[in-house]
């Protein structure tokens, strides 16, 4: 594995997980009055670090000093939401192939699962009358499992375009939330690089990136790599499943989906900051379970996520600065 999950507890240490010769720096304790200082510290560290000659965020290939100043948003360190201890200790500082490889490697455990589920999608797509090209195109362009399976439900000779678009939008609303949660880290990423990178935002790639971020991953392209592995498995699976058709069977007996659930549970351990998370988690859990019964589809993820996020914000102790 390219990374480990770690329990945060009271102290956060920068691990040597990013493989770039990361230096160690202590983040201090929970009180947010220390955070501003830590934010300054990180920027100073960025400035003195020699950057490898890879594509730089923002397109500049000049050495470290100008990169350091490029990541201070107007208004100083306060404008850069470093936030409370436990989440990303600052922003991404590069966008390079190293990041893609790190992300791809981290997502490898999900490759078999994505292949299998891709095959299931492929097989079903054939049964509802989609052509191979249409199925593959959907997996390449949309690459959102939930939306695609729902599309299979709605697929008919007279393709209901409006229904498909509306349900796709609704199902994918949670991407707004998870994309937003990465923003403090992705902040400096702009332009075509950002445009390309965000295509690979999925539940899995996002969760992997959040954990890596807490392990001080600084390469924004990690998100691409983390999404790419599942993406490729998904596409290959789709093509294979559609091609082989009904010759494949009996896959539903084994709970393939639990691979993803188990992985998400493991990643949940990795992003947990401490006891303070338990109440927001409980709120999220209750809201999600209730919402799943009351509302249809995947609203419950968005509902639980928002509820837990609000609970976390409300439970926050007043900031020192």
């Amino acid at each position: 594995m390219g990374y480990d999950g770690s329990m945060m507890g009271d102290r956060v240490e920068r691990a040597a997980g990013s493989g770039e010769g990361a230096e160690r720096s202590r983040m201090g304790t929970h009180d947010t009055s220390g955070v501003g200082k830590a934010g300054d510290e990180l920027v100073v560290v960025n400035r003195s670090r020699t950057e490898p000659p890879e594509t730089m965020v923002g397109g500049s290939s000049s050495p470290a000093p100008s990169d350091g100043s490029a990541f201070i948003a107007p208004g100083g360190p306060k404008a850069m939401p470093v936030g409370a201890v436990g989440e990303g200790h600052g922003t991404a500082t590069r966008w390079s192939r190293t990041g893609i490889l790190a992300g791809a490697k981290a997502a490898l455990p999900l490759l078999p699962g994505s292949l299998v589920i891709g095959v299931v999608f492929g097989v079903l797509s054939r049964e509802v009358g989609m052509s191979g090209l249409q199925a593959i195109l959907m997996s390449v362009l949309v690459s959102a499992g939930a939306a695609q399976f729902i599309a299979l439900d709605l697929w008919a000779p007279q393709v209901p375009v409006v229904s498909l678009v509306v349900t796709t939008l609704v199902v994918n609303l949670r991407n707004l939330l998870i994309g937003a949660s990465l923003q403090p880290w992705l902040g400096p990423l702009r332009g075509w690089r950002r445009a390309v990178t965000m295509h690979f935002l999925t539940d899995e790639s996002w969760a992997l990136t959040e954990v890596a971020r807490r392990r001080d991953q600084r390469d924004a392209a990690f998100l691409i790599g983390a999404g790419l592995t599942v993406y490729l498995g998904w596409i290959v699976g789709t093509a294979t499943g559609h091609g082989l058709g009904s010759r494949l069977g009996g896959l539903e007996n084994w709970d393939i989906g639990f691979i993803f659930t188990a992985f998400f549970v493991a990643l949940l351990v990795g992003v947990t900051r401490g006891r303070g998370d338990l109440v927001p988690y409980a709120v999220a859990a209750v809201v999600a379970v209730v919402a799943q019964r009351v509302l249809g589809g995947t609203w419950y993820i968005l509902a639980g996520g928002i509820a837990g996020s609000l609970a976390g914000a409300l439970a926050m102790r007043p900031a020192g600065d």
Binding site: M1, I178, G179, G187, D203, V265, V271, Y300, G308
Partner: protein
Amino acid sequence: MIEGTAAYLAIVAMALVTYASRVLGPVLTRVLPASPRLDAALAAVPGAVLVAIVVPAVLATGVPGLVATVIVVLVTARTHKPLLGAAAGVVVVWSATGAGL
């Protein structure tokens, strides 16, 4: 063929909508006023969303799912290796399925 065109239109429309949902999240945070509470809310999102994804799924898997989840948490917390934890949980569920539970 009209039907074929509608299908490709639908796929492209779905793709655009999906991409919009991926790209606009960060934009929204830039629109909202920055504050420690917003930071705290965003920081709480990962755990909250993961819990929201996981809890209904685990409950749907029944007792084997609950046992597996406990095992995943224990193994991951102890070894700091999500892969190991997840594998342990999957083994539990598949064993239960294989045993006809």
